[in-house]
C-alpha cells in the first residue's frame, strides 16, 4: 500500500471514530411514576426534561456531546423502582439519573445507584434526611416547606388544634412527623393523625373521624397525584371547609381537582405566577414546544428542568462524565432557572425561596407571601 493511501485510510478511520465519539450521547435516565400514584404528575416531569434536553442540544450539547433521555416507569413504588433502576443503570447504562419519584421508589433505587456508581439528582420535594453519597436534591425538605403554612394558620386563621392525614409511607409519615413537632413547638395541638396505604382511595372513615374531632385546621401529606385528588374530592363532598394545608399538591394536580381545590393552602418553591424573566422565558418555551399538550409546570416538574442544567454545568466543570468528579462538581455549580439561582451546596441539598399560596377556584395559585433563601437545615451532617 502506498503511504498516501495509508494516510488516507488512517484519516478516514480517525474521522469516523471521532464523529462516532462526538455523537456518543450522554444518557440521562429518568425513572418516574408513569403508572400508579404519581401518574398524574409524571407527564409534566418528562416534559420539563425534554425541554431542557432540547434547549441544551440546540446549543451544542454538553462538551460537544448531545444529551439523550431514557424514561422508565417505576410504578410509583419500591418493586417497580427496582426494575426501572436496574434497567436504566445496568442495561441502558445511563450516565446520570435525574428524576422525581415517590420516596418508596427512591429508597429502593438508592442501593442500585450505589452499586452502579451513578450520580442521582432527585428533583422531588421529600421528607428529608436521605443521605447517599450519590444523591443530590434540588427540591425542598420539611424545614423549608412546613413553617410557612403552620405559621399562617396559627396567626391568620387562629388555629389551635390540627388534624393530620397522610399516605402511609416514608414521605407521608416523615412530613407529618415534622409537622406535628413544629405545631407543638409553636403552641398548637394535634388531635389526630391518620394514614391510608399509598394507593388507598377510600377516605370515608378518616373524614368522619376528622369531623368528629372538631379540629380547627387540617394538614395533609399524601403521595403526589391520585391520593391528593380523591382525598380532596371526598373532603369537599363531606362538606369540610376548614383551613386546609396540603403539603404535597402541585399546581397541575390542583387544576385537575377543579373547583374542589379552591382554598387549599400550599407552600412551594415554584408557582407559575413567579414574576421573573427566567420564569417567563421558561413558560414561553414550554408553551411553544408542547402547545395544547402542555401539562402545567409545577413544583415537581420545574426542579427537573433545572437539574438537567445543573448536571450540564457539573459535567463541564468536571471536564467529563466521571461519576466521582461530577458528584464533587454538583455542589459547586449553580443554575439560574425559573426558581431563581439554585446551588446544591448545603450537604447536597439546596436553599430555596418558598412561596405561600392559596389555590383559586380556577386552579391558579395566588401568592400570599414569599420567603427568600430558606435554609434546608442539617439534612446530612457529615459523620464525625
Amino acid at each position: 500500500m502506498t503511504s498516501r493511501a495509508f494516510l488516507a485510510s488512517l484519516a478516514f478511520v480517525a474521522a469516523t471514530t471521532a464523529s462516532a465519539m462526538a455523537a456518543d450521547p450522554i444518557r440521562i435516565g429518568v425513572p418516574v411514576g408513569l403508572s400508579g400514584a404519581n401518574s398524574v404528575v409524571a407527564p409534566s416531569v418528562v416534559q420539563s426534561a425534554e425541554l431542557a434536553v432540547e434547549e441544551i442540544n440546540a446549543k451544542g450539547g454538553v462538551l460537544g456531546r448531545p444529551l439523550a433521555l431514557d424514561v422508565a416507569d417505576d410504578g410509583s413504588g419500591a418493586a417497580g423502582a427496582q426494575k426501572a433502576f436496574d434497567a436504566l443503570v445496568f442495561q441502558k447504562k445511563v450516565n446520570v439519573l435525574i428524576s422525581m419519584e415517590t420516596s418508596a421508589a427512591r429508597n429502593a433505587g438508592l442501593p442500585i445507584v450505589a452499586r452502579g456508581k451513578t450520580p442521582f439528582i432527585y428533583t422531588s420535594f421529600y421528607e428529608g434526611r436521605s443521605c447517599s453519597p450519590y444523591l443530590y436534591v434540588n427540591a425542598w425538605v420539611p424545614e423549608q416547606q412546613v413553617p410557612p403554612i403552620v405559621d399562617y394558620f396559627n396567626k391568620e386563621k387562629k388555629a389551635k388544634t390540627y388534624y393530620l392525614i397522610g399516605s402511609d409511607y416514608a414521605f407521608g409519615r416523615g412530613m407529618l412527623s415534622f409537622t406535628k413537632s413544629y405545631i407543638e413547638k409553636t403552641g398548637g395541638k394535634v388531635l389526630g393523625e391518620e394514614y391510608l396505604p399509598m394507593d388507598g382511595s377510600d377516605w370515608t372513615s378518616i373524614i368522619s373521624k376528622l369531623k368528629a374531632s372538631g379540629a380547627d385546621a387540617i394538614i395533609t401529606s399524601t403521595a403526589g397525584g391520585a391520593p391528593n385528588v380523591t382525598l380532596t374530592k371526598q373532603l369537599r363532598a363531606a362538606g369540610v371547609s376548614l383551613p386546609y394545608g396540603n403539603l404535597a399538591v402541585d399546581e397541575g394536580t390542583a387544576k385537575s381537582m377543579g373547583a374542589d381545590a379552591a382554598d387549599i393552602y400550599i407552600s412551594a418553591s415554584y408557582v407559575t405566577g413567579i414574576d421573573s424573566a427566567a420564569n417567563k422565558k421558561f413558560l414561553a418555551a414550554m408553551s411553544k414546544k408542547f402547545g395544547a399538550d402542555l401539562k402545567t409546570p409545577n413544583d415537581l416538574s420545574v426542579p427537573q428542568y433545572e437539574a438537567v442544567y445543573a448536571y450540564k454545568a457539573a459535567v463541564e466543570k468536571a471536564g467529563g462524565t466521571d461519576p466521582q468528579k461530577v458528584l464533587a462538581a454538583l455542589s459547586e455549580v449553580s443554575v439560574d432557572g425559573p426558581r431563581g439561582t439554585i446551588k446544591m451546596d448545603k450537604q447536597r441539598h439546596a436553599p430555596l425561596t418558598m412561596y405561600l399560596g392559596q389555590v383559586q377556584s380556577d386552579g391558579s395559585v395566588k401568592v400570599i407571601s414569599s420567603f427568600p433563601n430558606v435554609d434546608p437545615g442539617a439534612q446530612c451532617p457529615p459523620k464525625p
Binding site: S35, S39, V40, T204, K209, Q234, R236, A237, M257, G258
Partner: protein
C-alpha cells in the same frame, strides 16, 4: 354515630351496585367472571368520555351500561361459552380478558389517573349531620337497581326463562327455553351493570386502568356469601359492608379493607351456602 351509620349504608349501597352484576352472572351460569373489574373500568371510562363530550349525566349512565353490555356479550360469545364445563379455567380466562381490556384502555387513554366531576356536589343536612349528597344518592341508585332487576326477573318472560335456567337448565332446554340465548343476555346484562356501577363511582374516586381491581375481590366474596339471590346479596352487603365501615372507623382503615374478605371466608367455611336459605 349517625355519620358512621350513613357511611355503612352508603358503602353497602355501593357494594351492592357493584356486586349485583357479578351475582347475576354467577347465579345463572355458575361461573365467576374475573373480568368484572375490567367491565367496571370500562363503565368508568365511558363516563369519562361522556363527560368530555359534555353529555349530561342522564345520558352518561345508559352509555356506560351499553358499553359494558356490548363488551359482555362479546366476551360470552368468544370466551365464556366454551368454558362452562371448566369453571376454574373460566376464572383464569376471564382474568386474562380483564388484563387485555385494561391494556387496551391504557393504550387508548394513557396510564394516568383521570377525574370526573360529580353531577352534583354539596351536602345534605340529615338530622343535624352534613352528609355528602352524592353518597346518599348512591342509596337511591342501589334501590333502583334492585327494583329494576327484581322486576325484570319476576315480571318478564326473559326473567322467567332465566329463573328456569337457574333452577334446572336441562329441564328448561327440554321445555324449549333457548338457554344459550338466556346465558348471552344474562352475561351482557351483568356486564352492563358492572359498567354502570363504574360510571356511578367515578365522582367519588379516580379513573385509572386498574381502578376496578380493589372492588373485584370484595364483590366476589359478597357474591359467594350471598349464594344466589338479590335479596341475600343486599343483606350481605349491609352486614359485611357495615362491618367494614365499623372496623375502618374504630380500629384501622387498612384492617377494614380486610373485613369483607375474612368474614366471607369464615362464613363460607361454616355454611357453604352462605346466607342463602336452604
Amino acid at each position: 354515630m349517625l355519620t358512621v351509620a350513613l357511611d355503612a349504608v352508603t358503602t353497602a349501597a355501593l357494594l351492592f351496585i357493584i356486586s349485583s352484576g357479578l351475582l347475576i352472572v354467577f347465579g345463572v351460569m355458575k361461573i365467576i367472571n374475573f373480568a368484572h373489574a375490567a367491565f367496571v373500568t370500562v363503565g368508568a371510562y365511558a363516563a369519562l368520555v361522556g363527560a368530555r363530550l359534555g353529555l349530561p349525566w342522564v345520558l352518561v349512565l345508559p352509555l356506560a351500561f351499553i358499553a359494558g353490555a356490548a363488551c359482555g356479550g362479546l366476551t360470552e360469545i368468544t370466551i365464556v361459552r366454551r368454558l362452562y364445563q371448566r369453571p376454574l379455567d373460566a376464572i383464569l380466562a376471564t382474568w386474562g380478558l380483564g388484563t387485555v381490556i385494561g391494556q387496551i384502555i391504557t393504550l387508548i387513554f394513557g396510564r394516568e389517573v383521570q377525574f370526573v366531576q360529580a353531577p352534583f356536589t354539596g351536602t345534605i343536612d340529615l338530622l343535624g349531620v352534613d352528609y355528602s349528597a352524592y353518597r346518599i344518592a348512591m342509596i337511591a341508585a342501589a334501590v333502583i337497581v334492585a327494583l329494576v332487576f327484581a322486576g325484570l326477573l319476576n315480571g318478564t318472560r326473559l326473567g322467567l326463562s332465566t329463573r328456569a335456567v337457574i333452577m334446572n337448565e336441562m329441564l328448561a332446554q327440554g321445555l324449549g327455553v333457548d338457554s344459550a340465548r338466556v346465558r348471552l343476555l344474562t352475561f351482557a346484562i351483568g356486564s352492563g351493570l358492572a359498567a354502570l356501577s363504574g360510571a356511578l363511582i367515578t365522582p367519588l374516586s379516580s379513573v385509572d386502568p386498574n381502578m376496578g381491581l380493589p372492588w373485584l375481590i370484595g364483590a366476589f366474596m359478597l357474591v359467594m356469601v350471598s349464594g344466589g339471590s338479590l335479596l341475600t346479596l343486599a343483606v350481605s352487603c349491609l352486614v359485611l359492608g357495615g362491618l367494614q365501615v365499623i372496623v375502618s372507623t374504630f380500629i384501622n382503615p387498612i384492617l377494614g379493607g380486610l373485613t369483607i374478605a375474612i368474614c366471607a371466608a369464615i362464613v363460607l367455611r361454616i355454611r357453604p351456602e352462605g346466607f342463602a336459605r336452604a
